[in-house]
């Protein structure tokens, strides 16, 4: 190879390296998050997808001072924030429940009075969780607040209760941020009966994708 050809080849390599762009990863490892509900008119189903719009961020969460919720909810917010690169989601704990978008209480979920959809979670003996979504009849609106219940159904000093409360709180917050369905794998926190301590890579990837898909349910009220 002659010297001019070598220089030209080297210049081309340098130019190619200089002009190439960063290559994003393929985000294909996520699961179905949409809530599938029967259509209210006619036959068939609606697939409901929701995320908090940017003008409602940070999402305001009121937390009852029980069941380690004041400690576990901020940890859950931090865990889910790790899903996002572009400030898609954030939440903050507020002191006024009347101004909250999400209300987190300790105890068993009451009889279905607000909810069109209730997502039950955690079948462990130590604790259970539920998230109530008050969705309008036409399936286009989510009436706020979202209500989350964390039920420590064992003795306060029962072994495993703190871990159960922590992971169940993070799980229910996953529902509140828009994962309206359970994951199929027990390695995911959003599995119906979760055992892992925090969101898996698939959980985080799913949350990330949700915030880049146009929602067909809008938050109203508050």
């Amino acid at each position: 190879m002659s010297r001019p050809v070598r220089w030209a080849a080297a210049a081309l390599v340098v130019a190619a390296a200089a002009c190439s762009d960063i290559a994003p990863p393929l985000r294909s490892d996520f699961y179905e998050w949409r809530l599938i509900v029967p259509k209210t008119t006619g036959s068939g189903e609606d697939s409901l997808t929701f995320h908090w719009p940017h003008d409602r961020i940070p999402v305001r969460i009121w937390v009852e001072d029980a069941a380690s919720l004041p400690q576990n909810v901020p940890n859950a917010i931090a865990a889910w924030r790790e899903a996002f690169l572009y400030d898609e989601f954030d939440a903050t704990v507020v002191s006024d429940s009347n101004a909250a978008d999400v209300i987190v209480r300790s105890g068993a979920a009451p009889g279905i009075q607000f909810a069109r959809a209730r997502l039950h979670s955690a079948l462990a003996t130590e604790c259970a969780g539920a998230t109530d979504l008050d969705i309008s009849d036409d399936h286009t609106q989510l009436r706020l607040p979202v209500r989350v219940y964390i039920d420590p159904r064992s003795e306060p000093n029962a072994p495993g209760l703190p871990a159960c409360l922590a992971l169940t709180t993070t799980h229910e917050l996953g529902h509140a941020l828009g994962i309206w369905r359970h994951a199929g794998a027990p390695t995911d926190l959003m599995f119906a009966d979760p055992t892992v301590a925090g969101p898996s890579e698939r959980d985080l990837a799913t949350a990330e994708v949700i915030y880049h898909v146009p929602p067909n349910v809008e938050a109203v009220g508050r």
């Binding site: 960063i22 572009y86 898609e88």
Partner: protein, 201 residues
């Protein structure tokens, strides 16, 4: 990165007598714009870009040989917003500060014009450790070039107008951990005006 900038800031006023006799030192204020920091695709394309930011440059140079060449050190500091854009919607991602230090060579071009080229580094300091900067801001190699125009305004002071271009490759530890491969070429252009003291022509 802070040490060279501090050293430079201290050297400029402290070395007035020596540099005035043999070289030049200067300060400039201006604005700097940059190309995209990042291009991503989750569902639609997302780009992240810095807004045009105010910039401060401090530097000094000493003669190199008899033909009007000089070698010098320049530090710049800029602070501005950065944002993501997706489907026509911009989202403010906070503030990011950048600092650069470059070892530069410059020489005469035509009348008051001088060319300049240099190599150095750029450091990003985000206002918060989240998003693409969750693992902190990167330190990257930097190359740049530009043209200065000097016009005497007082006995030993020149009005200095400077157009600069620099280039580096950008990524962060957080992006690498998330599986982003390669890096993004980032071009920056600045226009600034300031004062230079010393033997400038």
């Amino acid at each position: 990165m802070r040490k060279p900038i501090l050293l430079l800031a201290l050297l400029c006023p402290a070395g007035v007598s020596g540099l005035a006799a043999q070289g030049t030192y200067y300060a400039r204020l201006g604005a700097i714009g940059a190309s995209n920091l990042l291009r991503d695709v989750i569902v639609d394309e997302i780009t992240v870009k810095q807004s045009i930011a105010p910039m401060l440059a401090l530097g000094g140079a000493l003669p190199l040989g008899e033909r009007g060449y000089r070698i010098g050190l320049e530090g710049t500091f800029a602070s501005g917003k950065f944002h993501s854009s997706e489907s026509g919607t911009d989202t403010d991602l906070g503030t990011v500060r950048t600092g650069t230090v470059m070892l530069e060579l410059d020489g005469p071009l035509y009348k008051g014009f001088r060319w300049q080229a240099g190599l150095g580094g750029i450091k990003y300091w985000p206002s918060g450790d989240d998003g693409i900067f969750r693992e902190g801001g990167p330190l990257k190699f930097l190359a740049g070039a530009g043209v200065d125009f000097r016009r005497p305004v007082m006995a030993k002071w020149d009005l200095l107008t400077s157009l600069r271009y620099d280039w580096h490759r950008f990524t962060t530890d957080e992006l690498e951990q998330r599986g982003f491969s390669q890096t993004q070429g980032v071009s920056r252009v600045s226009l600034s005006i300031g004062l230079s003291r010393g033997t400038s022509r």
